[in-house]
Amino acid sequence: MGQTIAEKIFSQHVGKKIYAGDFAIAKLDLVMAHDTTCAWAIDPFYEIAKKVWDKKKIFIPFDHAFPAPNVQMAKLQSKIRKFAREQGIPITTDGVCHQIMSERFINPGNLILGADSHSPTGGGLGALTIGVGSTDAAIAMATGTCWFRVPQTIRINIKGKLKKGVFSKDVILMIAKKFGPEGGNYRVLEYDGETVRNFSVPARLTLTNMSAEMGAKAAIIEPDEETEKYLKENQRPYIFDKKSLWSDEDAVYEKVMNFDVSDLTPQIAEPPDIDRVKTVEDVEKKKIKVDQVFIGSCTNCRIGDLDVVYKMFQKNDLNPNVRTIITPASKLVFLQALAKGYIEFFTKKNAIILTPGCGPCLGRHGGVLYDNEVCVSTSNRNFTGRMGSPKALIYLASPATAAASAITGYITDPGKYL
């Protein structure tokens, strides 16, 4: 019987052929826990083990609030530093966990556990990267394994050439509208089609990242020449071999969905749910005043995103009533932006550049919102209270829509400003 790529990866890590619905304990290639979820994993870990199973296969990034913005955060990070020293694991402070893992660690075919809900991001490289809580991370750090029920896969085929001003973020917002916050629950979302194949790996990571918002256990894009190119650029030689990893012709899917994005226009998710998606054109008519624009997060602050924003800001000044915050997703992205002159340029334009990391996405530091403030964010969650006051309103959109809104001061379609 044919297998999906997810079933193949699970099988390779269990040592026998398994299919959707099977239970298995699988060997892991990497375990990630960050500056909050790792803190919660330490006490359970020491209840069951003294040493981690392989210190080279454990990744601890400080990204959710680094440098520490308050004493509580400093306490958690201090606890993790002690643990990391005891176990001989280096701590990385170079940016958002999912971005660093994509740049440095994730290879096609890997099975990776991340104590963070946006772990499906890494599936854009053809790996199975799965989000869990801290207890699962503690057990994985002790044993190098995790238990799974192999999920069903939903295949999503996307065709059509995107119009100018429309990006992978708009595509995934449109899909999130169809799925809703539960439509992918317990599933693997497998993306394919000419549109996806034409996306660079960074653009693909936006699709897989947002799959978490539909409840997906993992999201995956079968690796191809683009994956090979990205890995080579990031010093990881990989030879693309279609046979070993791609889903079989007769693989069984729970369902197959087809989308044509030829006519898609910029999309925006209104608060507080991921599926309240409208066209930016329609929302623009409401003339919604914006207090803060956040260009950042594991969803959208790679160098390609900043290229778009740079071009738009070159021709236009930023609205002085808007706090425009730019948080490069990683140190590498920061250095790329520096080399291109973007950091100086954005600073002179009065944008605020924050340390690579999660930034204001989770409301813990660097751009916390007050009552009734409106934020256009390139991140992935518009939940009530996510970025500060429960009375603040978060709209999710592409970097282009965010940049257009930073220029005008109200929610604006990027069309005229590209």
Binding site: I25, T36, T37, L76, G131, T135, P181, E182, Y186, G215
Partner: protein, 150 residues
């Protein structure tokens, strides 16, 4: 009593990111639903139930959402469906998360759970107080037995 919630109650509502910066379960109990339902933490009693609609616990993987509700003394969460990471976290911590029709349950209805209808893995870990006490007692090798035979 039963605390009634709607659909898509996310973990940012249960333990908001700005408050859940601690590993102390008692502190976490104090911040449960701190903004969404401000009287919850103050008035919740041991063995109360949470009754919810679809996709309870969606959003962030933060296990504090489960830790906080367990530390509040919640007996079980009954929802039409659960988000997957939250559900796993409930299994691991031994907090009963039960899937069922909830629309007709009121705040003062008496609830009885027939443990026979709860998945065996969840029952077992509920009885042992979670997976960590289970592994501590039975050793790491007991993982296989627990997941593949339960």
């Amino acid at each position: 009593m039963n605390w009634i919630f709607g659909n898509n109650i996310n973990t940012d509502l249960i333990t908001p990111g700005r408050y859940n910066i601690t590993t102390d379960a008692k502190e976490l109990a104090k911040i449960a639903f701190i903004e969404h339902r401000p009287n919850f933490a103050k008035t919740v009693k041991k063995d109360d139930f949470i009754i919810a609609g679809n996709n309870f616990g969606c959003g962030s993987s933060r296990e504090t959402a489960v830790t906080a509700l367990k530390a509040c003394g919640i007996k079980a969460i009954i929802a039409k469906s659960f988000a997957r990471i939250f559900y796993r976290n409930c299994i691991n911590q031994g907090l009963l998360a039960i899937v069922g029709e909830t629309k007709n349950i009121g705040p003062n209805d008496k609830i009885k759970i027939d443990i026979k209808n709860v998945p065996p893995l969840m029952t077992k870990l509920y009885e042992t107080g979670g997976i960590i006490p289970y592994l501590k007692k039975n050793g790491l090798d007991s993982l296989k037995k627990l997941f593949l035979k339960t």
